[in-house]
């Protein structure tokens, strides 16, 4: 039997009280409850405080560059679609530096699970405004207050074609575990935006802030309704944060539409040797 401790690697270095602890715990719980062991999955990490989880989580891992975890995850899935492929990324990482990759991973319905640690600030670089920071946010890079409106990741993923969009809160580990389990079990692209307080650099979006503004979606919430999901996503404008599976529909994943890997994963296939099939067009 795999236990939560089997996933425990090096001792984490996050600040005491950081939301990453909650996400880390929920992730390990979800993996154990779904029956995964460290040798049965691949996790790609971006760069940021979230990405530092690479050292704390036992698994086949690829600690990528800032912003590039998504295309790495796509490549891994294409090479071996039997693997569960998770991308652990941050809001600056995934919504800023790697924003283009997110859009195209959504529309491709690549079967990867993207967990965004959305603390609405740059933590590792010591506190600059992030794409999801609230308007007016004062930081080292925006001492006069942030001019841009915050990016709405749920709405963005929705209109870009994501087939699974979930939201969790680092302050509610049990619920977050459930959302992760739903995401990992989904066939297709999954985005889980995790609301995460940064106790050191974000004095606005604190635990207290979220406790007052998050709520769990009703049991009878219709998660396959696009318009309803968009409405839920736009509640960000009123600073209300629905938790749970905001949107989920069934659609074939990118790799399921690739005839070369209809039977065997790419990595397990026999080598192609029949070059005569190719030479005709050169004669």
């Amino acid at each position: 039997m795999v236990a939560v401790d089997d996933f425990f690697g090096y001792q984490p270095t996050w600040c005491p009280g950081c939301g990453n602890w909650g996400i880390y715990t929920a992730l390990k719980k979800a993996l154990v409850e779904l029956g995964y062991s460290p040798d049965k999955l691949v996790v790609v990490f971006g760069i940021g405080c979230s990405g530092n989880m690479n050292d704390f989580l036992n698994a086949y891992g690829l600690h990528s560059l800032h912003g590039r975890a998504i295309p790495n995850a796509i490549g891994i899935k294409l090479a071996n679609h039997k693997l569960l492929v998770i991308a652990v990324v941050g809001d600056g990482d995934c919504y800023g530096e790697g924003g283009n990759h997110l859009i195209h991973a959504c529309r491709g319905n690549h079967d990867i699970k993207v967990i965004v640690h959305d603390n609405r600030v740059y933590g590792l670089t010591t506190g600059q405004a992030a794409p999801t920071s609230p308007e007016g946010f004062k930081s080292k890079s925006t001492p006069l207050g942030l001019i841009e409106a915050p990016l709405n990741p749920l709405a963005l993923a929705l209109v870009a074609g994501a087939t699974f969009i979930g939201q969790g809160f680092a302050g509610d580990i049990n619920h977050l575990t459930l959302v992760f389990k739903e995401a990992f079990s989904h066939q297709g692209f999954s985005l889980v935006n995790v609301l995460q307080p940064c106790v050191t650099f974000n004095k606005v979006n604190t635990y207290q802030y979220y406790f007052q503004r998050v709520y769990k979606l009703d049991k009878d919430y219709k998660k396959n309704n696009f318009n309803l999901a968009l409405e839920k996503a736009l509640e960000l404008n009123q600073e209300r944060f629905p938790l749970g599976v905001i949107y989920q529909v069934k659609k074939p994943s990118y790799h399921e539409k690739l005839s070369p890997i209809a039977y065997l994963p790419l990595v397990e296939k026999k080598r192609f040797l029949d070059y005569n099939l190719l030479l005709k067009e050169f004669i």
Binding site: D6, G9, Y10, S37, P38, D39, K40, L41, V42, V44, I47, N52, N54, D55, N58, A59, Y60, G61, L62, H63, S64, L65, G67, R68, I70, P71, N72, A73, I74, G75, I76, K77, L78, A79, N80, K82, L83, N100, H101, I103, H104, L258, S259, P260, I261, L266, V267, K269, R271, F272, D274, Y275, L277, L278, L279, F282, I283
Partner: protein, 584 residues
């Protein structure tokens, strides 16, 4: 016998397809070719031209004179007139334009024929092919057969319709110009089977035969036809081809796939490569094999997208921040492209690091004859060498012998174990019983991030030792052509090879002996061995398609030897033999 046939017309009217058809026709007749296309970076309008140099022997480079010029419009004549001789044949439609000059005029009433048979203007090309074949003394059958193969999917009627234009063009010449007909293209009795391959085709075939299973790219001239070719083969070869959202995604898709255990490659030109280089550095640090096909065009910035240059050599060898090993290969023609592509995939796996294959528009988009038999021998004798990358099944067996404990406990595999040759074993992710991570941060042997001084030095040294291993195991000194004792020695890399070989022949006729060092394994260089190649009393002449003499700079940096004499061309056109000969 060697002659040049050239066709020109307005862009968007099928000049490229026609030129390639001509190359294939003469190839089927048993002749060898080398061709080159000129086109502007737009889809309609502007001038397109395609020239084919045909010979009984291997063709190394384009020749200066045009022997047959097919003018589908007036502009073609005036643009290329300077390369005509009094014996040159000019095919044109008197109704469209006429000229006073004293060339061999062959009037083909394209317009009249089109009107009579109700053809579209793009069919001028086929009339021109028929007429060209007639004037060069070839049989029409090979052309009508090729048309049949090309249009057979569209039905018998379309085939017949197109064939009639070829036949009419052919008959027109036979009827009116019998005295001018040459015997250049009589079908060879004993002929070899030739493949008509562009450099991009050569890379594509090499990649497939090297078991590359994932190719990612974003369209960029002159690399795009690799994307098209490999994508069109997917159902046959089983390769996955991803046209990603940008070049950053391209290389990271390939790195992900390679990490997961499949051979992967990307293709691009300078601008796209610029977007990739941060990730190239990632591949160097995380030790992920990847093959990068870099087809150069004139830069900087957008530059001249559809023309040729060797301007990215220094950029390629220095690409990526930080210090990490990378191997840069520079094939000089189609055969070397196939050979080095096969080798590149082995090297990437053996050294677990990026390998860059540099091409340019001239090599990438021009075609050359390659004997089918040569290709078959090469690929049949090729064996895949994945170095220390271990397939799952093998490794499970290996740990099976280590007692029950090994089977039960999931252990952290030492992905970056310190070794003498600098290369560590890699098991494929999801190998049971283990886990590890590959890391863009500096790391310990087990892959975990470190900032420790001693560990840093160990890993830097380990990566650096790969260069030493490569230099002793797989590096090749430049190939030498010509006379060892000659006073004049050319030095070049990549696609300038053919023009130099041709210039050497011409110079020999004039009594000037030359030698030629052609670099294909360009970086890293074994500086001791390379230094020994240069003798102070000889005259070395650097030949490059760029303005800085970039190979010269690398040689000076590595060996201290400075080549002072240079033949450099950087107007977007390939260097030709004549300008090399004229240097003397």
């Amino acid at each position: 016998m060697t002659f040049t046939w050239k066709i020109g017309g307005e862009a968007g009217f099928g000049i490229m397809t026609t030129g390639l058809l001509f190359s294939k026709v003469v190839s089927r007749l048993g002749y060898q070719i080398l061709d080159h296309v000129e086109y502007p970076s737009l889809v309609r309008g502007g001038h397109n031209a395609y020239e084919v140099c045909v010979s009984d022997e291997e063709v190394y480079a384009l020749k200066d004179e045009i022997d047959v010029l097919v003018c589908l419009n007036k502009e073609t004549f005036y643009k290329h007139k300077a390369r005509l001789t009094l014996e040159s044949l000019v095919l044109y439609d008197k109704k469209e334009f006429d000229f006073e000059d004293n060339f061999q005029k062959i009037n083909i009433p394209f317009k009249k024929i089109l009107a009579y048979f109700n053809g579209q203007s793009v069919m001028k090309n086929i009339i021109a092919l028929g007429a060209s074949l007639a004037i060069l003394g070839g049989e029409i059958k090979i052309l009508t057969d090729l048309i049949k193969e090309q249009f057979s999917k569209k039905g018998e009627e379309v085939v017949k319709f197109n064939q009639q234009f070829a036949i009419v063009g052919y008959e027109e010449v036979k009827k009116n110009y019998s005295s001018l007909i040459k015997n250049f293209l009589t079908e060879k009795q004993e002929k070899k089977d030739y493949l008509v391959l562009s450099g991009n085709d050569a890379f594509s075939l090499g990649a497939v035969m090297a078991d590359c299973r994932l190719y990612a790219a974003y369209p960029m001239t002159p690399s795009s036809s690799v994307l098209h070719t490999l994508a069109s083969w997917q159902e046959k070869t089983g390769m996955i081809v991803r046209h990603a959202e940008d070049e950053i995604s391209v290389i990271n898709t390939a790195l992900g796939a390679s990490f997961a255990g499949v051979r992967s490659a990307v293709g691009t030109s300078g601008g796209g490569f610029a977007l990739m280089v941060e990730s190239l550095s990632f591949a160097g640090m995380a030790e992920i094999p990847v093959v990068v096909f870099l087809a150069q065009r004139p830069g900087p910035a957008t530059g001249m997208p559809t023309w040729t240059e060797q301007g990215d050599l220094l950029f390629a060898i220095f690409s990526g921040h930080g210090e990490f090993p990378k191997i840069v290969l520079t094939p000089g023609d189609q055969k070397e492209m196939i050979k080095l592509t096969l080798k590149a995939f082995n090297l990437a796996d053996i050294y677990q690091t990026p390998v860059i294959i540099i091409s340019d528009m001239y090599l990438s988009e021009g075609h050359k004859s390659v004997e089918k038999e040569w290709f078959e021998n090469l690929v049949t004798n090729y064996s895949i060498n994945r170095g220390k990358i271990i397939q799952t099944s093998k490794f499970t067996l290996q740990i099976g012998g280590q007692g029950d404990d090994a089977k039960l406990k999931i252990r952290n595999f030492l992905r970056y174990k310190i070794t003498d040759d600098g290369i560590s074993e890699k098991i494929i992710p999801a190998t049971p019983g283990y886990f590890y991570q590959e890391n863009s941060y500096e790391h310990l042997e087990d892959g975990h991030t470190t900032e420790d001084s001693k560990e840093r030095i160990k890993q830097v040294d380990k990566r650096k030792r790969k260069i030493r291993t490569y230099l002793s195991q797989d590096f090749h000194l430049p190939n030498f052509y010509g006379e060892k004792d000659a006073t004049f020695i050319f030095v070049s890399w990549g696609s300038t090879k053919g023009a130099i070989l041709m210039a050497q022949k011409e110079l020999k006729k004039r009594g000037i002996e030359t030698g030629f060092y052609h670099f294909t394994h360009l970086y890293p260089l074994d500086k001791e061995k390379v230094s020994l190649l240069f003798e102070p009393k000889k005259r070395y002449i650097l030949v490059e398609n760029n303005s800085l003499g970039q190979l010269g700079k690398i040689l000076a940096m590595e060996t201290g030897f400075e080549i002072k004499e240079k033949i450099l061309r950087y107007d977007g056109r390939p260097i030709n033999a004549k300008e090399i000969v004229n240097y003397f």
